[in-house]
């Protein structure tokens, strides 16, 4: 049971985002309790893994829907202050605005893309680890990451940012 607590937490936080680590911990706790009660009904280790990550994914999505209602998600805040090219040329300010725009645009991607991106680029998970957590083949995860980057690039371009 202990081997799943860290990955479940990482998966939950990858769905909920940087601002909701305490909520991700609540999700991990809830999933661990459900695992404890259901342990006897599993046939093998592989069925435990996919079951537990599916529960964690769905549970985190539910929490995210409630959390979003309580406090606007970063993307909505950022949308309200959409960056404009007209403001000063200061590099640091521009970098920070681009960073905010990237985070906001990530929040607009499909949930599974958001999760894959955060797991890979923020939490440093390998493609294999992400594949296990999302219960998908490694090639599918590579495709998620590729499509997510392309979508993100398009969203950033709409806001006047490029990737370079």
């Amino acid at each position: 049971m202990r081997r799943y607590r860290e990955p479940v937490f990482r998966l939950a936080v990858s769905i909920l985002g940087q601002e909701f680590a305490p909520e991700a911990e609540d999700v991990a706790q809830d999933v661990m309790l459900r695992l404890h009660h259901a342990l006897g009904s599993f046939r093998g280790e592989s069925s435990v893994g996919s079951w537990i990550y599916r529960i964690a994914f769905n549970q985190a999505l539910n929490v995210k829907a409630r959390a979003r209602y309580r406090a606007p998600h970063l993307s909505e805040k950022a949308l309200a202050t959409a960056p404009s090219r007209d403001l000063g040329p200061h590099d640091q300010l521009q970098d920070e605005r681009r960073r905010q725009a990237v985070l906001a645009c990530v929040g607009e991607l499909p949930e599974v893309y958001q999760s894959a991106l955060r797991l890979h680029y923020w939490l440093g998970a390998s493609v294999g680890e992400i594949a296990e957590m999302l219960d998908a083949p490694e090639n599918t995860v590579k495709s998620y990451l590729h499509r997510a980057r392309r979508l993100l690039q398009a969203l950033l371009a709409e806001r006047g940012f490029d990737a370079r």
């Binding site: 706790q29 661990m32 009660h37 681009r98 990237v102 985070l103 990530v106 991106l117 392309r150 990737a163």
Partner: protein, 95 residues
């Protein structure tokens, strides 16, 4: 491919920051919820008194019945108690 790499770099920069960790109290919190709850000494006394009173009341109420009827009543009572207990356990487990 070049754009893809640039996008990867941009994402890494934008998301740079300390990855959150589970709090040190996480295991203790889970164990507290998982460990079966024990009755307090007072709770045990209450249960014991309840059992004695229930057995005495049942014996007094069934004093004029035939042995077969008493056996049937005890068997039905045991079945109902076992079913209710299993149902409550499932509810507590969140199924």
């Amino acid at each position: 491919m070049h754009d893809d790499e640039a996008m990867g770099r941009l994402l890494r920069d934008a998301m740079a920051g300390e990855a959150p960790q589970l709090s040190p109290a996480f295991d203790a919190r889970v164990m507290r919820r998982v460990r079966p709850r024990r009755l307090t000494p007072m709770g045990r006394v209450v249960i014991a008194v309840y059992v004695v009173v229930a057995v005495a009341a049942a014996a007094w109420l069934m004093r004029d019945l035939r042995m077969e009827s008493i056996a049937a009543a005890v068997a039905a009572g045991a079945l109902i108690a076992a079913g209710t207990s299993a149902y409550v356990r499932r509810l507590a487990a969140g199924h």
